[in-house]
Symmetry: C2
Subunit: 412 residues, 2 copies
């Protein structure tokens, strides 16, 4: 462990999660403990790196307390970007610039914490290194609340988002029962193409909560008429309905449900059309068409990826572990790989890290298998629940200062 290793750089990319900084802590602490000379952070990922926005992390993460605060800090500590590198054959100039900057800082190990697009970056940079005789090692550290990365059993970030979603779904179900009158609450959950998070709302079901009544995942085509019929029928049987829908629901002609409205389009910070409005559209439709039915629409929104005040300890620990495992593997000479999680057993839950070729991971979306959605397409199966349940276990207590959770800020 005392061997002096070369310089390290680490970046964060894509949408943040509640535990993405735990992976950063894992990279930083493991690299430092294993003898890295310098551990640099790139601000706003590769996009910032291209502008040489690089900090020495030792200037910012100064103590073990800082490391523990970092683990509890939501959103990407280093800032993030959405930036896709061109194919190597299309434009080598940008690659030359990146490698020139990496050489300037004498970087030998490069870690990128991210999802699909970030693994594409690792793939391309490691290919370019091999093609051009660079000795720099490139390793991917998985994260995404969406749980849509291939090969890995699950993705750090998903467990905490699932725990948050299940917890607040319980609270909303409880709140919906308060007046004992007829009501329908539609909750809208993130996940453009994969329904892992929407399905996680089912975990609200337990001894003290009956869970949501219906769940609609984006893996299946959404039938508005069929939905309305189910609501009209259920509404007669049960006073307060709670339905969870994915923001990415599409109807048969390929349009998103949220595009069925005539509202102004929201475009997010990256030019992606914002897929909010699915719950609102459905709630308004029920309000108009089902007599005597009061409705409300609740968007869980970006809190799904930044609610660090309720995280899964399993998730925080695994996020840290994948960061550490990436450093260990790179220091041992690996490159062009992503750390994956391999589940040994569900109960008792046991999961280990492993390495996998990033070429076979990048740009593949893992969706919820059809057999984990029930036949009528409106709930998840027990297998789905058994898969998710271990990932939401246990807590990491926030460090509360003056009544609020304390975070670590880069400026500090």
């Amino acid at each position: 462990m005392a061997t002096v290793m070369g310089n390290v750089i680490v970046g964060q990319s894509g949408g943040p999660t509640a535990v993405i900084n735990s992976s950063l802590a894992g990279v930083y602490k493991t690299a430092r403990d294993r003898g890295a000379k310098k551990v640099y952070g790139m601000l706003h990922g590769v996009q910032g790196l291209l502008q040489e926005k690089v900090v020495d992390l030792a200037d910012h993460i100064k103590s073990d307390l800082d490391i523990d605060l970092l683990k509890r800090t939501p959103s990407s500590y280093l800032g993030s970007c959405r930036f896709k590198l061109p194919e190597i054959k299309e434009d080598t100039e940008i690659y030359d610039r990146i490698f020139a900057i990496l050489d300037k800082y004498e970087i030998e190990y490069f870690f990128y914490i991210g999802g699909n697009d970030s693994m594409d970056t690792i793939k391309k940079l490691s290919d370019y290194a091999i093609l051009n005789g660079s000795k720099i090692r490139f390793m991917g550290v998985p994260k995404t609340i969406d749980n849509d990365l291939a090969v890995t059993d699950h993705t750090p970030g998903f467990g905490s988002a699932a725990k948050y979603i299940a917890s607040i779904t319980k609270e909303i179900i409880r709140d919906g029962l308060v007046y004992g009158n007829q009501s329908v609450t539609i909750i809208e959950i993130m996940g453009r193409n994969a329904g892992w998070l929407t399905g996680a709302a089912a975990l609200a079901k337990g001894e003290d909560c009956e869970g949501p009544d219906l769940l609609y995942l984006p893996e299946l085509t959404f039938d508005v008429d069929d939905f309305m019929k189910k609501i009209a029928a259920l509404h007669k049987e049960k006073p307060a309905l709670v339905i969870a829908v994915s923001e990415g629901l599409k109807v048969a002609d390929g349009r998103y449900v949220c595009e069925l409205t005539d509202n102004v389009d929201f475009v997010d910070a990256f030019g992606h059309k914002q897929l909010t409005g699915t719950a609102r559209y459905l709630a308004e439709k029920i309000s108009r068409e089902v007599p005597g039915c009061k409705t409300r629409a609740i968007e869980f929104n970006s809190l799904q990826r930044c609610a660090s005040h309720i995280v899964s300890r399993v998730d925080v620990t695994e996020a840290f572990q994948v960061g550490g495992a990436a450093v260990k593997a790179a220091f041992e000479g690996e490159t062009g790989k992503m750390i994956i999680l391999k589940r040994i057993s569900d109960d008792p839950y046991l999961c280990v890290t492993d390495l996998f070729d990033v070429h076979k991971i990048a740009n593949i979306e893992k969706k919820v298998p059809r057999e984990w959605i029930n036949e009528t397409g409106d709930y998840v199966t027990q297998e789905f629940i058994n898969y998710v349940r271990p990932l939401i276990q246990a807590e990491l207590t926030a460090m509360m200062v003056d009544g609020l959770p304390r975070h670590l800020r880069l400026e500090d």
Copy 2:
């Protein structure tokens, strides 16, 4: 304490809070410990009482563990209602029915946990009892997230809602900074006429967070043009803006900001027009009119009143105390009063309970004083923050079962 007292009934009314059940626990435990024969709960408040929906709480709250779970259970355990009694002179029939039911159950003490409308109920029932020679004592136990009850320093329920709002505002501010690009996030906070909760977003400001940029409370008329000018100017200085607005903002002609849209009206379960859409309206307007500005709208929604997974310990304790103090006072012969909180000092925070004539409380809304809003009308002052800060202190750990906070359910 061992004296045998008469039967007690307790109900919950109006919008729930995260700690309304802590007050119920305070009434139940204190009444039981002080020798009440039976402690009944009315389901869905006076509305349920009129249908004799009454349970013996000893059948449902069976252990000290249940009492502690009850304190951690969001939304009204007994169910709630929104029901206003007629003036006594207008309709005595309904009063006769209520008193007949109370007499049937040999009730001597009646406790109602609620806000303004509930205190109006206590006022009328205690008046009716005096007019008709009934010996039943009626006591009000204050609760509302809105903090708009008169006379009391603050209202149980407000501290936890404020803590939740400040905590997630911190997370959202952090999330907004992640890409380092120009963005405006508008968060919409509950409070139809009083801006206590919107102002509480300012508590996010601290050593590790710069807080929201602007806050708009419903106490002041909202000027859309002035707002747009401020955004355009601020947007040039600062990449990621976070603005908190009250759902109840009104423009000079008296319309709500959310009515400026052409969306379908949402009507809530009680026929009140739902005031959501203020943030969405403003975000869409900025999106259209400020070049290069990405926007998002986030409604904090009903989680403000049911997020029991992050509550203020001060609030939970005070909610319990006001319940207990109401029982003690009623057992000592008081009637027609509400328990109030009297602050002795801010720092160190010290607060005691007292009694106040409910006639001087009911139907009066306490708003944020003008001098606690800054001159330009877009932030709260340090006095406001000093007032709220003690109310969000400390935590009550949820009892986590299989990864999620456990609640107590009436059916259990």
